[in-house]
């Protein structure tokens, strides 16, 4: 970020009639009602020089403080006078300048407008994006200038769209018609807003027709993004359901423990992530962005360890009595929740997305795929593959399956069943911990975290067919996509009800889940 800004100052094209930032301008921008501040800002921006730009940038970065009627720009714990640039002592009573939404939006626009003429293509691109939805007529000359100077075809097209959006408000009918024609090729959702707004005020019938035609075209090209977006959110929800269910697919699906504490094991994973975050903040602030990578194994181990302890102390006495495990693990879940309340408090704790997980890739004008969702989908796939390999292809996996099917005989084959049981339960718990780590990136981290997902987790495992890994995957994805599809149609509440009803009906058709085991081995 910082480098980018330096570059920006260095390459900024300074308007010929630029003049130095005055103390009055500064005061006008800082003090008073938002309206007058905006006015002062726009005035100053028209004749901006380097200092003005630096000042606007600082204001936008919340790096400006005031004390009485004095204004300071704060940088690296030092305060400077915005006009002279001289370093000044910062009075202890200095207060932040408050920029409400409106002001902040104007600041961004002003900066963007100034960057439109930058030599750096990346900066111009950003500027165009920021200004995208703004159709302020006052900016027309600037945009035309930028349009004339632009050499990159894609950016030139976008500038033309911006110009057209402004021209839509022109008093010249021909220009409006032309603008409408141009805009119909846009794939930008902001264009839709502009067109709708213009439609509301347009009086000329011809222009109205043109506007409507343009609007229809724009909406048609946006429809794709909406559809893909819905599918993506279905997959994304599915990946979360999958993560949440995978651990349970082991502890419950394979081992037959009706593990009501599964949610709490996820919660432990999430809190472990929180603790790692805290440690990074304290001891490794420089590497903070990578705390999540460290949190993954920690979350796994924390939950796995807890799982191992539970298995050794409680669960192992209950094999072959599945319904008793329900009761005991319910008790465990109550205790773990309260334990977390005692240690971390009843409130949620904050877990931040690392910078590389914020934001997203813009795929279409109205479809951007958030990084954290993409990462979680990838993570779910990785966990799934890892677990599939471990269970299906390794000796450990073979032992786990053997032991869970017939404990005494497995031990007669020379398998240390107690140890395998502990490993298996710890593995399932560890995977729950991984799920918790992932969930910390999209939802709450609090004592109730587990309760919110436990029902879903069981539904997924059971719908897929107990003990069927592949079924779990299908069930998670199916429910995720079905849920999102219905949600767009009926709203979230009815969608959730419909999904539950769907599960009930589906099980009637397939009483053993999607991947029912067939034949006699199912009864054995």
């Amino acid at each position: 970020m910082l480098l980018r800004h330096l570059l920006f100052y260095a390459t900024l094209f300074i308007a010929t009639h630029a003049h130095a930032l005055s103390a009055d301008e500064v005061k006008g921008i800082i003090f008073g009602e938002t309206d007058t501040r905006v006015e002062a800002l726009n005035k100053a921006a028209l004749t901006a020089d380097e200092k003005t730009v630096a000042f606007i940038q600082a204001l936008s970065d919340d790096a400006v403080k005031t004390s009485g009627d004095k204004v300071f720009v704060v940088k690296d714990d030092k305060a400077f006078d915005p006009v002279t640039g001289a370093e000044q002592p910062l009075p202890p009573d200095a207060e932040d300048v408050i920029n409400p939404n409106m002001m902040r939006s104007e600041l961004d626009n002003a900066l963007a407008a100034l960057k439109l003429l930058s030599k750096d293509e990346q900066l111009r691109r950003e500027a165009i994006k920021t200004l995208g939805s703004d159709s302020d007529e006052a900016r027309l000359p600037l945009i035309e200038k930028a349009y004339a100077a632009e050499t990159v075809p894609a950016l030139k097209d976008q500038l033309e769209m911006m110009r057209a959006a402004i021209l839509l408000g022109s008093s010249d009918k021909a220009k409006r018609l032309e603008a409408a024609g141009l805009l119909s090729a846009s794939k930008n959702p902001a264009t839709k807003t502009v067109l709708i707004e213009r439609l509301g005020t347009e009086l000329d019938a011809d222009v109205k027709v043109a506007l409507q035609a343009a609007l229809a075209k724009v909406e048609a090209s946006l429809a794709w993004g909406d559809k893909l977006g819905a599918i993506f959110s279905g997959i994304s929800l599915g990946s979360i359901l999958l993560l949440v269910a995978l651990g349970l697919a082991i502890t419950y699906g394979l081992m037959g423990v009706i593990n009501m504490a599964h949610g709490e094991l996820m919660m432990i994973g999430a809190y472990a992530t929180y603790v790692v975050q805290g440690l990074f903040q304290k001891y490794l602030p420089g590497a903070f962005d990578w705390y999540l990578l460290a949190a993954v194994p920690v979350a796994f181990l924390a939950s796995a360890l807890m799982g191992a302890v539970l298995e050794r102390s409680v669960i192992r006495f209950l094999y072959g009595r599945p319904l008793e495990t329900l009761l005991a693990t319910w008790g465990i879940s109550l205790m773990l929740q309260q334990l977390v309340r005692t240690i971390f408090g009843a409130q949620n704790v904050g877990v931040e997305n690392p910078v590389w997980m914020s934001g997203g890739v813009q795929v279409l004008g109205n479809l951007s795929l958030p990084y954290n969702r993409l990462v979680i989908i990838g993570f779910a796939i990785a966990v799934l593959l890892g677990m599939g390999w471990l269970i299906g292809k390794t000796r450990l996996g073979l032992f786990v399956r053997g032991v869970t099917q017939n404990r005494p005989i497995a031990s007669c084959m020379g398998v240390n069943t107690a140890r395998i049981d502990t490993y298996a339960f710890a593995l399932g718990s560890g995977i729950a911990g991984l799920a918790g780590c992932a969930l910390s990136q999209v939802g709450n981290v609090g004592p109730d975290l587990g309760q919110g997902y436990i029902v879903d987790a069981f539904m997924v495992v059971v719908l897929g067919g107990v003990g069927q890994l592949a079924g779990t995957v299908y069930a998670a994805m199916g429910l995720g996509i079905l849920n999102k599809f219905l949600e767009g149609w009926t709203g979230a509440v009815l969608a959730k009800i419909a999904v539950l009803v769907f599960i009930i009906i589906f099980i009637q058709k397939r009483p053993q889940g999607i991947f029912a085991m067939k034949g006699r081995s199912a009864e054995a």
């Binding site: 902040r104 959702p189 909406d226 971390f344 999209v442 981290v445 509440v493």
Partner: protein, 401 residues
Amino acid sequence: AEDTIKVGILHSLSGTMAISETVLKDTVLMAIDEINAKGGVMGKKLEPVVVDPASNWPLFAEKTKQLLGQDKVAVIFGCWTSVSRKSVLPVVEEMNGLLFYPVQYEGEELSKNVFYTGAAPNQQAIPAVDYLMSKAGGGAKRWVLLGTDYVYPRTTNKILRAYLKSKGVADKDIDEKYTPFGHSDYQTIVADVKKFSQGGKTAVVSTINGDSNVPFYKELGNAGLKAKDVPVVAFSVGEEELRGVDTKPLVGHLAAWNYFMSIKNPTNTEFINKWSAYAKAKGIAGHKDKPLTNDPMEATYIGINMWKQAVEKAKSTDTDKVIAAMAGQTFKAPSGILSKMDEKNHHLHKSVFIGEIKADGQFNVVWKTPGPVKAKPWSPYIEGNASKPDEPVKGMSVVKK
């Protein structure tokens, strides 16, 4: 037992509501410590009786019976959700107890035995919408009313819809959406809001409650829905709720409350300091490292102090006498006003503040009412309320022993 006055504390310490309510229990305990340190009430020490209704609504009623019937408490501070209050209400009325309810709620209720120290809809929702419609607030023309599917959001949105209509907003420009309790996947909702906002300047009024807020805000951040494009004003999100959220992408989104921790005045500074010290001393998890105050805490604090004053004025803890003495009580509130209990309607007069979220999880106050607003528990935007008296109706066919 004669030298103490028992005070019931009825907040969930476990279950789903513990997230919000636990801290209110501690607030009452802090206030009690403070009052006792100053010599108690009428020379008697206050003795807290803490119970855990465990986010279970019938249990609220049962515990109330116990507090009033067995423990003979003089007053109860408690409840958060409206349904818990509704569950407790018949019991306090029958047993003629006294309940102080500290959370903003939907109105449509006025009981002689309850003092409502949180906001009624006109003390929170309506001013917030006014602000968003104003030029400074962005001049919103389209509205998404988004809430958790239960009575408080439904009622508030009903009032808001009527209000917006009265301001000339067409039905097609209002989108009302609900999610189930504990909903955690807001992708579709946020995508819908985004789409809706393409039709013109849009603001979102969020009455999402409790746990769903974190995933909602995280999704807003992910989807790049910035406050300057589509501002979201929330009525159930305060400092405590933001504790669990990465606020950087949320800067500029709003909340409407009658108190913010960031309000600068000596009373508030003192309040925050007191709380910080108390949280440290008692090792209250979370708060001992990062003490936070919020609106319901302030409302609780005002409530107990006003009750103390009323008892002293009435020279008795007798419910009816205290009720009478409560009318018109004032207290210097941390929000910076001289808070006053209405003479008649059992609600506080409150200033309304609109705050924008800052990167540190606190709020910038960007707008406030010129002075305290009197509560209208019976919203005029709901049919049939016009004729309602602005005070509890006495003698509601309750049979006394």
